[in-house]
Symmetry: C2
Subunit: 150 residues, 2 copies
Amino acid sequence: MSAVDYREWLRVAVEEAEASLASGGIPIGAALIGAGGEVLGRGHNRRVQDDDPSVHGETAAFRNAGRQRSYSGTTMVTTLSPCWYCSGLIRQFGIGRVVIGEARNFHGGHDWLAEHGVDVVVLDDDACTRMMADFIDAHPRLWNEDIGEE
Amino acid sequence: MSAVDYREWLRVAVEEAEASLASGGIPIGAALIGAGGEVLGRGHNRRVQDDDPSVHGETAAFRNAGRQRSYSGTTMVTTLSPCWYCSGLIRQFGIGRVVIGEARNFHGGHDWLAEHGVDVVVLDDDACTRMMADFIDAHPRLWNEDIGEE
């Protein structure tokens, strides 16, 4: 895969994050990409929209991809460094690669994933960083709720 | 909390696992217990029932508890050692304690949780162990799918 592919995949995750923001939600989006580069599933955080604390961007993409027999050739692309919950998902199901828009606003479990053999790519994307920073500034309480900070 | 409380809480998780089994699903159940011992949410694996790979027993209980401001005084009780996905959930949201029916059929992330300050109780319950062993014997492919083993 090339950096161009990663940016194209990130575009899908960003579209999801923007859709979430437009519907009053937390702007984190993700997609599960198949071995051939196809989008298996895409989704975004739904804490606000569904009043559901269990749906993060990554778990939404994973769910929307449906049941798969193997995840070893797949990539999870996400606008923000995955929290422990989503990092655990990636590790448990053997998702081979994670492509991360940015890890400045939140540094989750991606170092741990790298230690356990996941290919980790951090794109350090300015637009992702700005979108999340603006959201956290405007809605600090909601953001803290989403990552379990009191 | 006493061992009696833990057994009572486990009973709720076992009821969920039994309900899942009765509806053709994977017999893993869980409940999120509040600081006062009340059941905040309960649920079971729904891979088969909903064709949804994202719903493990623990994530179902977490979802069904709804949005909470704090998880520090809560306990996740589950019939089986939590996989990395569910262990990540427990760590990210600061769930203070995990009570586990058994860890013989599957040893997930509970040692890691203990290292990170979660109070871990393994009850080594015979009935839980037997229920899961019987299921794995009868449905090895489904079980492997649920934990991302090929």
